[in-house]
Amino acid sequence: MEERYAEVARTFGAALERLAGGYERDPEARRDLVQEIHIALWRSLARYDGRCSLRTWVYRVAHNTAISRVVRPSASAPTLIAIDDSLEDLAETVDREGGVDRRRALERLYALIQRLRPLDRQVMLLYLEEEDAASIAEITGLSIANVSTKVHRIKQLLARQFYEGSHHGE
């Protein structure tokens, strides 16, 4: 199990961090969520019996852990300041020329994801990770047709959001 966990952490580590960003705006809360997901994965892998792919299992555990945390009645709304904080961290790592647009685009993307309802958010996060409709359907429990419709809407939403956003933002 230890080897399997190490493999999962190595393969999905970056995706799980991005996933956590879709649920938690505050950097501290995001770090806590990543750790919570890793702990849940560590515990859950003992029950993994190969009925679904490891990839499906990992995303299910991650999204279900995140949803359990987000839908808690005591969960408070994240603040806008926290987004700026996390973006400042990113700003240092991107080049000066293209950095601003990239930063703004990511900012818009996270803000958009965090506004989505849970299932739409999950579909969008999985779509951004390049999962196909069949995989997204298996992970979320939605039908392939429903996922395809949602993905189509997501593409439209992204195109509109970024086109309109770029004009408003100028």
Binding site: A9, L142, F162, H167
Partner: protein, 195 residues
Amino acid sequence: MANEHDPDRAKVPSVGDIGQMWRQQPRQDQTMSVEEVRRRAADFDRKVERWKHVGTLTVGLLIVKNVWEVWVDTDMLERAGDCLMLLALMFIAYRFWRHSRAEVVPSTLGLASCIEHYRARLLRQRELSRDAWAYILPFVPGFGLIILGRAFEGRPTSQVAALIAVAISIFAGVLWTIARGRRTIEREIDALTGE
């Protein structure tokens, strides 16, 4: 094609670019070693246990306080009220304990799809809020008897009336808040059913 003539539009990333940008974000690298995960899992368990102990201790203290009140109160009505409050407290503690046992354990999280997990979670929350009266009602008889006892003790009517008003406001406020939360949960369940 329009992008070639519109300088603003040219800066707009395509949907494919957005996906690439998303996956190429700089990462914080929060990967933990197996030892660290094991340690944090143990820390997490200890934290959960600690909260359980705090809850048990709080209920224990409230029970002790109520037992003490039953012991020292001289008025029979107030004593009966204290006894009923004590029983209500124990009943509520039992319900919370039973509910907490139904929580999903992390090892089963991968067995359920996202929609199944989310629906199950919402249904549990709705069940909890639907039974709100069962958390409030047990305290009403005891509280009523205590107020009656105080009224018969010869306390000013205004004091007794204020006590009744405060109690009703608290009960009504709690029930209203829970009902509001339940409506939100039901809307979410209805939306899930349509998926």
